[in-house]
């Protein structure tokens, strides 16, 4: 039975050495097991600092962090085996000559027996849709494929919690969709905290945390965030172009996910107008 609360932060405060303002001040929130939670906010708002405190790369000045009940500062191994982090740059994590070796890298470091390692690597590669890529060389892959290899490497370690740090920001449109399809596919099975500048990636999230000036300024469902121009503006957030077009046409309520959705909403409204005259 997993802990019902995956991530718990209470009064979390951190200043970088030499920094005049705290990078994070008095941040408190909980993420329940299996939730998909987005994190947004301006550059310098505290998002990256938060992730580093959660996986123990930084230690808080004050306040507490608990990952499934464990403190990253005093129980780093308990935390690290539960938490996997996917970074911006898909090049950074790739180390081995072949895809399957790369996915196996973390397991080898843990000394997992050969047979179990083979099973877990195969399953991880399958779960990111890269069956047939086992003997490919990572440098020959597209950005989206590389990022999926990095994700498979994390999944092979069977983490309970995934921290996604702008995993699509360096990818083209096709790569972005590939990676999002896979992370969305992990919903429910993993607790996911997803940092991004692209609100369209979070429209299906359970909640979105808005960080600004080192503080947590809002914790809201994505629908509330995209329909609150003040909250968006104050936190340097921008609606995705499709939602901005919809808003400009007074069609926010249609909540279009695709250009086709918006086109249909426009047609309905234009017809409605024509019908009333």
């Amino acid at each position: 039975m997993p802990d019902p609360v995956s991530i718990s932060c209470e009064g979390l405060t951190y200043s970088y050495p030499g920094g005049t303002e705290p990078a994070l001040s008095s941040v408190s929130f909980e993420v329940r097991t299996g939730e998909y939670v987005g994190v947004v906010g301006p550059n310098g708002g505290g998002k990256s600092t938060l992730l580093r405190l959660l996986n123990g790369l930084l230690a808080a000045d004050s306040g507490t962090v608990r990952i499934a009940g464990h403190d990253p500062a005093t129980e780093p191994f308990e935390v690290r085996r539960r938490v996997g982090m996917l970074f911006q740059n898909p090049e950074n994590g790739l180390v081995a000559p072949f895809v399957e070796d790369d996915v196996a890298f973390g397991l080898e470091n843990l000394g997992v027996p050969r047979e179990e390692m083979r099973v877990r690597v195969r399953e991880a590669i399958r779960s990111v849709g890269l069956v047939g890529y086992e003997r490919r060389e990572p440098h020959t892959l597209s950005g989206g494929e590389k990022q999926r290899v990095a994700l498979a490497g994390l999944l092979a370690l069977e983490p309970e919690i995934l921290l996604l740090d702008e995993p699509t920001s360096m990818l083209d449109a096709a790569g972005r969709r590939e990676v999002l399809d896979r992370t969305q596919g992990l919903r429910g099975g993993k607790t996911i905290l997803h940092v991004t500048h692209h609100l369209e990636e979070l429209l299906d999230a359970d909640r979105v945390l808005v960080m600004n000036g080192g503080g947590l300024v809002a914790d809201v469902p994505p629908g509330d965030l995209v329909s609150d121009p003040d909250l968006l503006e104050k936190n340097h957030l921008a609606l995705p172009p499709l939602l901005r077009l919809a808003a400009g046409l007074g069609l926010e309520a249609a909540r279009p996910r695709t250009p086709e959705d918006l086109a249909r909403a426009i047609r309905e409204k234009a017809r409605g107008r024509a019908g009333t005259r």
């Binding site: 920094g19 550059n43 597209s142 790569g175 957030l237 172009p241 069609l251 249909r264 234009a270």
Partner: protein, 271 residues
């Protein structure tokens, strides 16, 4: 300045088992004062291409012409002063104790006197929207601020053309908007800009012409409307919405930029 690339080929690791032909005969021009947007997926050759624009990379074959003069005959330092190249994540190269000193580095190497250097530093910081940061340590800045300082460092050389490789990658929307405004300001001062990005919505807002690269070749080049309405897989949300409307029988022309698209759609909705 007018820059012309003629039939540029580039091969990485030639003669080894890792040989890759990254550019397969690319020809294009950057016209004086224009913003040329270059779109393409990962591995399309975008970054390799822009490094040929000031001969940071030498082509295996083909010519680079600056105002009609073969760039290979120009002094490299002169070429790199006139064509400023801002790499992906340029903030990685920040090094000085203060922002002002960092930006002063390049003009100092050009041999300008202290007064001229000071002027250059101030002007470029103002242009890049980073004037208020001049006494800060570059390492204590946010990602968006660092990016602006790094761009100011290139502007301080007084380039006639600025080449930006994924300048908005990793920036928040407000910083991205700031950068797009900077590009428009540069254009107003007569500087040509080459903007490389995978963010098609952004490129659509500022580019005068669009070039799509694929597999090291030019797949399309032309006005934003020509290119986007014939290559929907690279098109921004505005064009895709108009296309979807066209498919259900509502033709409103071929707007590209957000403002003009909103007006055209608004006319339709309001009747």
């Amino acid at each position: 300045m007018r820059l012309e690339l003629r039939n540029i080929r580039h091969v990485y690791s030639p003669g080894t088992p890792f040989e890759v032909e990254a550019l397969r005969g690319v020809s294009l021009s950057v016209e004086p004062g224009e913003v040329l947007g270059i779109l393409g997926g990962t591995g399309s050759g975008k970054s390799t291409l822009v490094q040929h624009m000031n001969l940071l990379l030498e082509p295996a074959s083909g010519d680079v012409l600056v105002d009609g003069v073969d760039a290979a005959t120009l002094k490299r330092s002169e070429l790199r002063r006139r064509i400023g190249l801002v790499f992906q994540f340029p903030e990685a190269a920040l090094f000085a104790p203060t922002v002002a000193e960092d930006v002063a580095f390049a003009p100092r190497r050009l041999g300008l006197n202290e007064g001229e250097i000071e002027d250059r530093v101030r002007e470029s910081l103002v242009l890049a929207g980073a004037d208020h940061l001049k006494d800060r340590s570059p390492f204590a800045l946010s990602g968006g601020e660092q990016r602006r300082v790094a761009i100011a460092g290139v502007l301080a050389m007084g380039p006639e053309m600025l080449v930006l490789d994924e300048p908005t990658s990793g920036l928040d929307p407000a910083s991205r908007q700031g950068l797009l405004r900077l590009i428009q300001t540069l254009q107003d001062t007569g500087t040509s800009v080459v903007l490389v990005s995978h963010n098609t919505d952004e490129i659509a807002e500022v580019a005068d012409r669009i070039c799509i690269l694929e597999g090291g070749e030019v797949r399309a080049i032309g006005s934003p409307a020509e290119v986007f309405y014939t290559h929907p897989e690279f098109a921004p949300a505005t064009v895709l919405t108009v296309t979807a409307l066209d498919e259900i029988g509502w033709d409103i022309g071929q707007p590209v930029r957000f403002g003009e698209t909103l007006r055209a759609l608004g006319d339709l909705v309001e009747g």
